[in-house]
């Protein structure tokens, strides 16, 4: 049982991590807790579902297009909502509130268009069977999610740490003004980030939709809660943190079901988070830089 639970934890943790990667990226660069990330994640699921259902598209093609669409939505949200707020020097909670508005709109429109019930990808979109080794089971999507989230983390980390683009993004994250003075196209990179993060969110939506057969307009909300916990646990804006935080939450939830009680699953997970924050006040990888006196 333990082995299977570890697999469950790994795959659930990877789901959280996958969602959190895009989420943390936006925060890391734009400094905005983008509460529409859950809605965009949901949108990704529906777009792919639509393409597979109506146009009989192959799953991978549909996923790419879904990423493109959600990426564009992210871009539009940035252009119409976040950019004007940046220009107006809005206080730091305001963009977050605006993204709540965006989330409400997208969710409500999705509900109007697609209906409120759970949908699923057609049977056979991906192999339903699970890989079985002895008594252990892992489905193809689960495996894909684990691999993709690790791969994405490595790619994102490499970009952030090793390239001039990554340095520029970190510069923007700390101070757009300083970044401008260095000749960095700050607005351009903001757009790029919003696009990339939303596309990642969309991809996560497709994979999660495949994995849990519960595509609904509201699927983003619980994921968003978990996502917030994950990126804060990992340290806001930190790529490794999103991954480790996601895995941590996955393991905390699964193991608390396995060894304590499912009644207290969320309380255990959030309680642990609470405790970790007390020990590490800015998450596992967050840096605290006290302003120099």
């Amino acid at each position: 049982m333990l082995e299977q639970q570890l697999i469950n934890a790994l795959s659930l943790g990877s789901v959280y991590a996958l969602f959190a990667l895009g989420f943390t990226l936006v925060f890391g660069v734009l400094g905005v807790i983008n509460l529409s990330h859950g809605a965009i994640f949901m949108l990704g699921s529906y777009v792919a579902l639509l393409l597979v259902n109506k146009f009989a598209m192959s799953l991978w093609m549909a996923m790419l297009l879904a990423m493109l669409v959600t990426g564009l939505v992210g871009l539009i949200v940035d252009f119409l909502v976040l950019r004007p707020l940046r220009k107006r020097n809005a206080p730091h909670l305001i963009p977050m509130i605006a993204t709540i508005g965006v989330a409400i709109m997208i969710t409500n429109i999705a509900q109007g268009v697609f209906g409120a019930e759970n949908k699923r990808f057609p049977f056979g979109t991906i192999p339903e069977d699970s890989f079985t080794v002895g008594n252990l089971h892992l489905t193809a999507v689960q495996l894909a999610i684990v691999l993709i989230s690790f791969a994405l983390m490595i790619v994102l980390l490499a970009v952030m740490r090793r390239t001039q683009l990554g340095r520029a993004l970190r510069a923007i994250a700390e101070s757009p003004k300083a970044a401008y003075l260095l000749g960095i196209n700050v607005e351009g990179l903001f757009f790029l980030t919003s696009f990339a993060a939303a596309a990642l969110g969309g991809a996560a939506g497709v994979l999660v939709g495949l994995s849990f057969n519960a595509i609904s307009p509201f699927m983003g909300q619980p994921m968003l809660h978990k996502g917030i916990a994950v990126i804060i646990l990992g340290g806001m804006g930190d790529i490794r943190g999103a991954m480790i935080g996601g895995l941590f939450l996955g393991f905390a939830e699964v193991l608390s079901v396995a060894y304590l009680s499912s009644d207290f699953r969320d309380a255990v997970a959030f309680g642990l988070l609470f405790l970790i924050l007390l020990v590490r006040p800015s998450g596992m990888f967050g840096k605290v830089l006290e302003r120099k006196a």
Partner: protein
């Protein structure tokens, strides 16, 4: 004058699949009644509101129907969870509230104006359990339920009592919360205890997912559930993964009675799809009310008419799409007068090839 009847059901949101079927049931019955000239010449007008399957909305909608639209009575809400929040308003304003799908225990304890024709879990689940034991030779079971919903929790309580009474061992009890999509941790734990069947007090969307994930863990156990399972949604998502699931309900598509045959045909003709338990119960409920109203002389004073309806209802006996029906007075609780439950027999169904059929 027209008779205004409020319908407060979940037409959007996660419970919409149930709510829409219920609304269809009412519409079908009301249209039929009106086509026959209404009740004592008065046409029935349905005032339909969406309570979204949420407590807060249910409260809002009830207030609007009762105070603003001044309906004679209210049907709904869809979920017991919302009923616990909204029904007290109806009772406080001395207006009949009639649930056609609320099956949790305690609904009718909220006051003497509470009625339902939905058979409560306590009447259905023991029967279902007994049938399951016989069908699968069950000795030990695992239980899984949603712990933050009144209906799923109440279903669990009843199952628990029934299992105790029938001396069936429970290997493990697990819970989940609304909005959860991953149940593998719980299921893995259940798997390790190797039960003969899984008892599941869940709503359809979660149930479908739970079934799929159970199968993907290589588990073959049959499921036993309550009326939450009774939705086409279950098969849309879980397909034949749901085969062998047992579910108790007062209604079956295979009931050969003429009333049911006609109901099913009319429903299909009007809405293009097959009806389900909830549509049938709603349909019957409308006739039950019509029956009561036919005995009432409407005075035009809302207050008096509401009282008159409440007094006329308990005596109604009816034989409709769900078979023979009568009201049963709920025992008073804590010195508070209760309302009326359904007196009706449960039928056990089994899932085969993507639908529920009668268990023979």
């Amino acid at each position: 004058a027209d008779i205004k009847i409020g319908v407060a059901e979940a037409l959007t949101g996660p419970a919409a699949k149930y709510g829409v079927a219920i609304k269809n049931g009412f519409t079908l019955a009301a249209d039929e009644l009106n086509a026959k000239g209404g009740i004592n010449g008065n046409k029935i007008v349905l005032v339909v509101e969406d309570e979204q399957g949420k407590k807060e909305e249910a409260i809002n909608v009830f207030k609007k129907l009762i105070f603003q639209d001044k309906v004679l009575m209210v049907f709904g809400p869809t979920l017991s969870n919302s009923a616990f929040a909204a029904d007290p308003i109806a009772n406080a304003s001395k207006t009949v509230v009639f649930g056609t799908s609320n099956t949790a225990d305690g609904i009718t304890n909220m006051g003497p104006f509470t009625f339902r024709n939905s058979v409560m879990e306590a009447d259905v689940l023991p029967v279902t359990t007994r049938a399951a034991v016989k069908q699968f030779g069950i000795k030990k079971v695992a239980v899984l339920y949603g712990n933050d919903d009144a209906f799923t929790k109440s279903g669990y309580d009843v199952f628990k009592a029934a299992l105790e009474q029938q001396k069936i061992a429970v290997t493990d009890t697990e819970t989940y919360a609304k909005g959860d999509v991953d149940f593998k941790a719980q299921l893995t734990k259940i798997k390790a205890t190797n039960p003969d069947a899984i008892i599941c007090s869940c709503l359809a969307e979660e149930a479908a997912n739970i079934i799929l994930q159970t199968r993907s863990l290589g588990m073959k156990q049959p499921f036993v559930g309550g009326n939450g399972f009774n939705s086409p949604k279950l098969f849309e998502i879980a397909k034949d993964g749901a085969d062998n699931t047992l579910m108790g309900s007062p209604w079956s598509a295979e009931n050969p009675a003429a009333a049911n045959k006609k109901f099913m045909a009319d429903y299909k003709a009007k809405f293009g799809g097959d009806p389900d338990q909830f549509a049938a119960q709603a349909f019957d409920a409308m006739y039950i009310v019509a029956e009561a109203l036919s005995k009432v002389k409407l005075s035009g004073s809302l207050e008096k008419d509401r009282l008159a309806l409440r007094d006329a209802l308990p005596a109604v006996k009816f034989d409709g799409a769900t078979g023979k029906f009568a009201f049963r007075r709920a025992a008073p609780q804590g010195g508070k007068e209760g309302g009326y439950d359904a007196q009706q027999d449960a039928i056990v169904n089994i899932a085969k090839g993507g639908k529920f059929i009668l268990l023979k």
